[in-house]
Amino acid sequence: MIKRFTMLLLLLVLGALFPGSALADDGPTVESNAVAIDTVWVLICAYLVFLMHAGFSLVEAGFTRAKNTVNIMMKNLLTISLGMILFFVIGFALAFGGDANGFIGIKGFALSDIADLDFGIPTYGFWFFQAVFCATAATIVSGAVAERIKFIAYVLFTVVITAFIYPVVVHWVWNGDGWLAQKGFIDFAGSTVVHGVGGWSALVGAWLLGARIGKYGKNGEIRAIPGHNIALGTLGTLLLWLGWFGFNPGSTLSGTTADIALIATTTMLAASAGTVGAMIVTWMRHGKPDLALTLNGALGGLVGITAGCAAVSPIGAIVIGLISGIILPLSVAFFDRVLKIDDPVGAISVHGVCGLFGTLAVGLFAVDGGLFYGGGVAQLAVQATGVVAVLAWSLVLGFVAFKVIGLIVGLRVSPEEEMEGLDIGEHGMEAYGDFMLRSSGVPGLMGINREQVTI
């Protein structure tokens, strides 16, 4: 994470951290203008990251069944709301409030007591950007556990991940004193910090919950449970793609660096290559290009480039994106068919697996220090350390959290509720009141006209 310290003064007058209204009489200076540019840039990028929540909502809803749409929307809405408040009260402090042994922050709860900290831009701006990131990590889980998790259990897990699991990892990597930061671990915008944490937590959740009723036949045959609104799913993916232009270039925390243009470019090219890569794989496997996996491929490319977006060349970005796009459908098949972990929207593969690959890829493709650019294996080793540490942390913490939550409130809705749909069961309403729907979810068959065949 890049931070620049260009300001001479930090005036904490109700958010006026640089020559603002309070100092208007003095007029702008070169330095205040630079900070203003940085602030404007970071806020706008944060807005784009916020928009990713709309993207997540649509992707998750689109790729699941109509009878669970209300529930998915509610989960996403809660993730943002609760995530913001918790990250304000607790999470930010653990992530950025000073340091204890490189492991965790210790002050700044509710943003109090941090007048001494300088984030280059007004603290509220910095908080805002980090807060929308936090909610992103949490929301990744939502997709993997969709269509069967109890709403209250999901809410509780969101509390744990936004208030503790995620902020700690942020501290390790993005707080200068964090132990992974000290080792030189490069994860510019969060292939591992955000997507790894989200993806591996999603893995634990999906695994502990078990598959949706009907996903696997009595004899283990794999069945498709098609999503109900591919138009919205596509829109969601495009909104996520757009949001990534805030996610990655915004992670400079500065608009006064030319890096933002490079990062936007590597991000765009990796996403494009991921799309093409996934499309080609599905085309070859099934004789037809598959939209659902191709959309996942775009996201895979984006997750893949996130760690190295500022460190690799455009051509490196294309290669990373392409490989992510190729890995994606294979990973989806692996979890679906080999491990039989039911992940309705592919969250584990998109965020966990492509995030893992992308983080390692920095060790290979970094123009400065990457193996392929003559930099040896040192960086790669550091990258592997970071990946493994975060993976272990997320799996263990996630496991404990889900287990405890399961004990307290139970993880999974009843089979009757699952079949009728969580919209009725958890929220007492339907998403599409005026539309005739094909028969609602039933064991073994999502519609009256489906008979799945394993291939």
Partner: protein
């Protein structure tokens, strides 16, 4: 009084309506159904899993007619709906006891 139920491919409805108008038959009730029979379904893929769909969309037409129109109606339907390929559909005939026109209360054939 007879009920003609024809299960046909979607899309030939308009021609059937035209054909029946010749006999002065204008009333009919149409619904969307799914059918299976000899016709084979199709294969779809979703997220890498292939599956076959063996109920195909069909249109069901119900026409209540006076007995005398039986042959005329079945002829029209058969002619219009036939492509000669599997999946053309079927016509079923059954007897109705009575019909009532709600608006007027008329009964029997005059209610059709």
């Amino acid at each position: 009084m007879l009920k003609i139920e024809a299960i046909i491919r979607p899309g030939v409805l308009e021609d059937i309506k035209e054909g029946l108008a010749k006999f002065g038959i204008h009333g009919m009730t149409v619904s969307q159904v799914m059918g299976c029979g000899l016709q084979k379904g199709r294969t779809e893929v979703y997220r890498g899993t292939e599956y076959s769909i063996n109920l195909l969309p069909k249109v069901k037409i119900e026409i209540i007619i006076a007995d005398k129109h039986l042959d005329g109606v079945t002829d029209v339907v058969t002619k219009v709906a036939r492509t000669g390929e599997i999946g053309d559909g079927k016509i079923f005939v059954s007897r109705m006891e009575d019909a009532i026109r709600i608006r007027t209360g008329e009964k029997g054939e005059s209610a059709l």
